[in-house]
Symmetry: C2
Subunit: 165 residues, 2 copies
């Protein structure tokens, strides 16, 4: 790999996420497991035009920085079990580059603010990107989800999808 | 927003994507529209352990840097139509921070190399993260895809999903 390829990349947050979760207490491990709580992605005002027409979509993909995360692990325990897995096979924040991804449900857009539900993000999280969730691009049939499937056998939602602390 | 929140974030690529697409010719706008072509995400060897157990998943989410992209636009034309939309309502690379996202189909993992199909990424693209695609986390029912839905009415795949140049 060349030096050019591996050169560092500098990102500038486009805004912040304002969420009712100041800590993990009662936060879902993924937004769809607790879908009534509302949060807001507040963009810097200069990015407001970028939100145009996003209100025609029901869902958006947020990319953000796990800013409270101070270490990297290559093998780590996910929230659903005690077994360790490779960091690229789980959704833990302790991953290289500390980038998080959430699919959220759009409630409304007002100016430079996007209000949404299906929240699994801490308050004050720096926002890096918003993409429309597009069924025709992003949905996959006939998937297997490795170590995760056993926790959802029979369509059950397992314990541990809502955090205790 | 505080200075802390808006502070710049430095990423280090975890590897590169080796793809047969050196330019846009014949590349699909999204990987699922041309699913036979194979590519490889080659991690730096020190990240190999992070891939453990990813082979139990059928699909992965790749995050990468649109390294060939030299400008930002807040309103831009998507590949499917001439109408301009907000950059956060389309998947164009000309977005702030130039971060791309692809859902790919895992073929095999050998050492620090992940081979996949459903490729829509240029050769030599710097890789930032790999996440498992998890149906139980990432699938959404009853979605609307704004300006995009009309192009897929009746389940048709529109012209323009495979690039000409």
């Amino acid at each position: 790999m060349t030096q050019q390829t591996l050169k560092r990349i500098e990102l500038k947050p486009i805004g912040i996420i304002r969420s009712p979760y100041s800590d993990a207490q009662n936060m879902p491990i993924q937004g769809r497991f607790k879908d009534e709580v509302e949060a807001c992605a507040e963009l810097l005002p200069e990015y407001e035009d970028g939100l145009r027409d996003l209100d025609g979509f029901t869902h958006a993909i947020l990319l953000y920085h796990f800013h409270a995360c101070d270490r990297e692990e290559l093998l780590a325990r996910p929230l659903l079990e005690q077994e360790k897995h490779g960091i690229f096979a789980i959704r833990s924040p302790y991953r290289p580059n500390h980038i998080g991804l959430s699919i959220v449900k759009i409630k409304k857009i007002e100016g430079h603010k996007l209000y949404f539900t299906e929240v699994d993000v801490f308050d004050q999280t720096p926002l890096i990107d918003i993409k429309p969730y597009v069924k025709q691009f992003d949905h996959r049939e006939h998937t297997k989800s490795g170590w995760i499937d056993k926790h959802f056998e029979g369509g059950q939602i397992p314990e541990g999808t809502i955090l205790k602390a």
